[in-house]
Subunit: 321 residues, 2 copies
């Protein structure tokens, strides 16, 4: 399946939000109250993983973010640049450190975290002159709920969205809410606002019902489409994905793979779906590529280590068809 549109003729896909490093515990168990063997720092942050995946597909891609002037920031910038992301709108903040997330898998597969994000450089993300320049050519903007952790950041996201909408670009939104984030009071209001704004809504399974009055999936999809959202893609991990718009519903199965590390798989799925649609691929093809992208991501350890090229996605799809 060759690319169906010349990416160079399209404006970039832009993501906005947190860059962090991830530090992973080697041993399963509960939390971080004792010295453990850890592995890291790995480049991370859901919007950073998303945009890295877009760039790996050869599509123009840029990120609006903020890191500290420290090794954790430079590690991320080097990776993103190597993979082709335009980092001109990533601010290197002199007074804040790069965000970090410690993650440990419990025996039951759930995860415990210790986050340093809110008061890290990630909280200083702004629509700077460089960000406006990047957005001025932007065809599609992607925003994640995890990035909306202060009133200021919500305002910055709104500014970016309004600029992209004004130039007839489109917006996708992934609620990407972790249980630790839900106790931030601004969060729910921000998620509801994003539902009003976005063209494409991409929740993970249970998140579909998070913001609706409806209590069944079908009713929730109908309610969300009635808000003006053009399409809903529900990510279900190993159970594949579903696409809904006003005219059709499509289900696509996942590719069965041994799960090594699911962190980042939803971001890769979303990035690949958005990129394929920007390249005018069919919904069915886009879902297939997105599922392949998620499958390759869960097979690799580290949040951003599992981003893929079209050649890698084609190889998986061919091997399994």
């Amino acid at each position: 399946m060759p690319a169906q549109a010349d990416p160079s003729t399209r404006g970039p896909i832009v993501a906005l939000g947190e860059i962090v490093v991830e530090i992973m515990a080697e041993e399963r168990g509960d939390g971080f109250r004792e010295p453990l063997t850890l592995r890291g720092p790995f480049p991370s942050g859901a919007p950073a993983i998303f945009i890295d995946q877009v760039a790996k597909l050869g599509h123009p891609a840029g990120l609006i973010a903020s890191v500290g002037d420290d090794d954790f920031g430079w590690l991320n910038l080097e990776r993103l640049r190597r993979d082709g992301v335009d980092t001109s709108a990533v601010r290197v903040h002199p007074d804040h450190v790069t965000g970090s997330a410690f993650v440990r898998y419990r025996a039951d597969g759930e995860r415990d975290f210790v986050f340093n994000i809110k008061n890290s450089a990630a909280g200083q993300t702004r629509i700077t002159a460089e960000a406006q320049r990047l957005l001025s050519g932007c065809a599609h903007l992607h925003v994640m709920g995890s990035s909306l952790f202060s009133f200021r950041l919500i305002d910055e996201a709104k500014r970016a969205i309004e600029q992209v909408k004004a130039q007839n670009g489109t917006v996708s939104f992934d609620p990407n809410v972790r249980k630790e984030m839900l106790n931030i009071p601004e969060m729910r209001a921000a998620l509801e606002m994003m539902l009003q704004y976005c063209d494409l809504f991409m929740p993970s399974g249970p998140e579909l019902l998070l913001l609706t009055e409806a209590t069944t999936e079908d009713a929730a999809v109908a309610e969300i489409l009635s808000l003006g959202v053009s399409a809903v893609v529900v990510k279900r991990g190993s159970e594949g994905a579903s696409f809904h718009d006003r005219t059709q519903t499509l289900h696509a199965p996942a590719f069965a793979v041994a799960e090594v590390d699911p962190t980042g798989a939803g971001d890769c799925f979303g990035a690949t779906f958005v990129t394929c649609r920007q390249q005018n691929r069919s919904v069915a093809d886009s879902l297939r590529y997105a599922n392949a992208s998620g499958a390759l991501a869960v097979g690799r350890r580290g949040p951003m280590e599992g981003t893929s090229t079209f050649a890698e996605l084609d190889a998986l799809i061919t091997a399994r068809s």
Copy 2:
């Protein structure tokens, strides 16, 4: 050598400053721009190590500090409480995370760091009502330069010092400055202020010349004693330590040990010297115990893992005499 004064009859030694966790790279090398095998979190923070060492010697000890409501904070609180530190004046901050320090040894023995301290809970240390209560009985206050990283924290330290001085307590000061800290503009002025205030000044070797016009050690000591400082103890690691006051100069050799991890050794040395002097031990005995404490600390991996009891110090001293 039994204890020479009943510690329960004396007011507590109090330290003020940062609690952090330390994450150590297993592999030597430069910085943190690639995924490494790490070990942590370890309880840390120079004032926390200092006060843990005081408590391990069976002396009344309390800490004024701030941690986040996260595993890194609870790990430290559990350790300090277990070792006998009064943590009633350690504030658990709802909106800031516990500070952290990533450390990696280079091939040449120098260390690279990535700090999250300034915007962590450690930056929110305040003289709260609980801290005032702790200080009201305090016989001796210890302050470190590493804790004076904002105007607000310098003011809080001044408040604590003034309270202790007003009740005829004494103050010790360890500049404990790392190269990463010297680019904070408030730092130098704060260190100079502390020299005016303190009774006992405890620099590590090269730090002796940091704040003086004098350029030789003897002249620097004379200059510092002329400011009203009662005594200067110069910590020289494996080369022992020197004590200076207006009447005498004493040198004491270090105990030769295999160096496993020097982090925290200077804090253990200082805590043991201050505790012994508070217990009316002679300068010579206090230096011997302090050198033993430093030696045991460099032999253990982890910043706070090497604090010692008097029984452990006596065992080392007896074995080497």
